[in-house]
Amino acid sequence: MKTILIVDDSISIRQVVGMTLKGQGFDVIEAVDGVDALKKLTGQKVHLIISDVNMPNMDGITLLKEIKQIPAYRFTPVVMLTTEGAEEKKEQGRAAGAKAWITKPFRPEQMLAAVNKLILP
């Protein structure tokens, strides 16, 4: 079973994403911010990371840079959640190596489509 880490400070986003993905047979773990995410990544295999950009403690872009430094996760696909028009953030994200984006607000099926374009269920 493939494991997905969802990093977002909003519990509702985590829940919706979690429910959607679990419903499709993915294992989902949650983290509330970048620091928490790095903790959750150790000691288990995560196949895909979905991360919000704006979060307290450690934001998504810093998290992305950190992930690229971890040998076990340097090639793991990361989907960034961003809001409409946050071009500056997007630019920073691209510079940090972000390739996949989902614009908030998104519908569960959009999320699922993005995930399916990145990893096999």
């Binding site: 090639f75 793991t76 390739k99 569960p108 099926e109 990145l118």
Partner: protein, 696 residues
Amino acid sequence: MDLTQARSLFIEEALGLLEVMEACLLEIEAGDATAGQHIDAIFRAAHTIKGSAGLFGFDAIVAFTHIVESVLDKVRDQKISLDHDLCDLCLLCQDHLMTMIRQLQDDSIQLDLHAGEQLLARLHLYLDGKPALAMPEAETAAMSEHWQFDVRYGADVFRDGMDPMSQLSYLATLGTLTDVHLSAEFPAEHFDPESCYLRLHANLASEASKQTLEDVFEFVRDSSEIHITVPKSISEQLAQQDISDEKLGTLLVQAGAVTPRELQQALQAHKQQEIAIGQALVQQGAVPPELISTALDKQKATEHKRPADFQFLKVEARKLDGLINLIGELVTSGAEMDSLLSELGNSKITESFSVLNSLLEQIRDGALSLRMVQIGESFSRLRRIVRDVSKELGKEIDLIVEGADTELDKSMVEKLSDPLMHIVRNALDHGIEPTELRLYKGKPAQGQLKLSARHEAGSVVIEISDDGAGLNVQKIRDKAIEKGILAPDRDLSEADTYKLIFEPGFSTAAAVTNLSGRGVGMDVVRRNIEELRGQIQIRSAIEKGTTFSIRLPLTLAIIDGFLVSVADTKLVLPLNMVQECMEFKPGLQTQGRNYLDLRGEVLPFIRLSDIFRLPGRRLQRENVVIVQYGSDRAGLVVDALHGELQAVIKPLNSMFQSLRGIGGSTILGSGDIGLILDIPQLVQFATNLEMQTCHP
């Protein structure tokens, strides 16, 4: 909630209605029921499907259902009889409709257009022999050939965390993949295993738009070369026609042959080099030359249809009810256990049981919430109706939705959708004035329609208000007299006059349109609401607008109750309607009248022992429970107060169903029967009683 979801709601609803239609027809055919018993239900199924399908622009379904409905209407008017042959024909039509609806959900279903035409021809024999309407083209013509993909993956694809096989597997969900061919273009030396050298060819039979297909590769688009070739069948569908460059581009995008991104590039090239759009697109490799040479005529934008049904698990309501019943039993036996344990007085067992009990409560709440849905579902369906109807009527409407997250029982939401639709339609049609008139009156050009829902004292209140002309009491009166609903010499209060619009025969739309038509009018609205044990009220002010206020009980299988007793009889009040309790001192009572003085407020009260004629002498010490339903409050005088409990509502035996003031029964922890009071009825009774005393 968006259009896709509204659409799947429509599909679900239509399938449900067709099932009802089928069941009714089968019963009639088998002789288990008469046509008269079921024709209304059958007619309404067809009527509703036609109406909703019209909203979503499913013209083929509208056209077909219209004929079916017309025939059924004749049966309803007893102009023709629903004999065996017609029953059979109706069942065939029901089958055909089922296929049409299912096709919206599943592209692979084939619709037999010829069979549809035959059915229409047979239906027309029952009408006046006019030739059948030409069936509109099927919504999307199946494409015989394949989309071709040629993807040369960029070197960094793997390092970016992308895996080509995920995209391939995603493509497979959009259609049927054939001729998948993977190759690798390895360098002569210095192979880097982390670089990607793969190239993928694949063919796909799909009715997805080019945009959807291009989006499959959205995350590798920047690093890879992606070529998607349009199926030949699309180009063949394009009729030979001279159209301007710009229009050609738009049409190609609509046809799904070109994506907006490609068109944008072509338009840029067009500006810079003054080459034709078509040529630019060919140069870009976006479309084959033949495709441009045959210009697009009537090709409709092919909408890709994939059901968004993965988010929900459909469970048979019967199973859910069974579960809730069982949990009800569990709660009852839990209460019994509780009272036994308190007699036993073993603190360890009591403690352990209280944990069990709190889990039980959670299970109960969870199970009940399974049946609860947000009303937003119905509201968003209304949103579409507002949009379409206002367009149809040429009125500008600002729709405000409040409390879309208010939850109520699923079965209620389903039964509400029709009445809400009628009220909204009515408000748009008759309530809100045409723009010019509004401007003349000094109102904003945009009419306002507000949908709101909220929980209030144990019930759900749904309001639909407009800022239109308001109801004209005199006009309603005149019309009611003209229709013979009201005797000319009768005096009515304003509120009672408004209620006339719910009388059968009052609102019959003059023109047969898609939505209103054939007199499924406000009387049905009231009946539907009353079937849900709800009430509908109208408030209106001339030139300010009208508000329809629907109040529904939160009928649940299990309630939090408050136990009281009168003589030896145990009575349960729904806790959410209980406001406060106090000792009933003679000083509270207004002399000789059924009024009590609650901190200066005058409240009617009733003695439950009088109402239910319960034997027993009046105690020295009585208590009064203040209850509220809606905006009305009343006091109920009882003997003793016993506190809160969970009560599983058991419906009353049909023998007692006409009993006023009692809504059900429950089994108490002690094994006794408790009667659940129907507070709305009692409050109403108290208020009326007091009014009669005032005006004898």
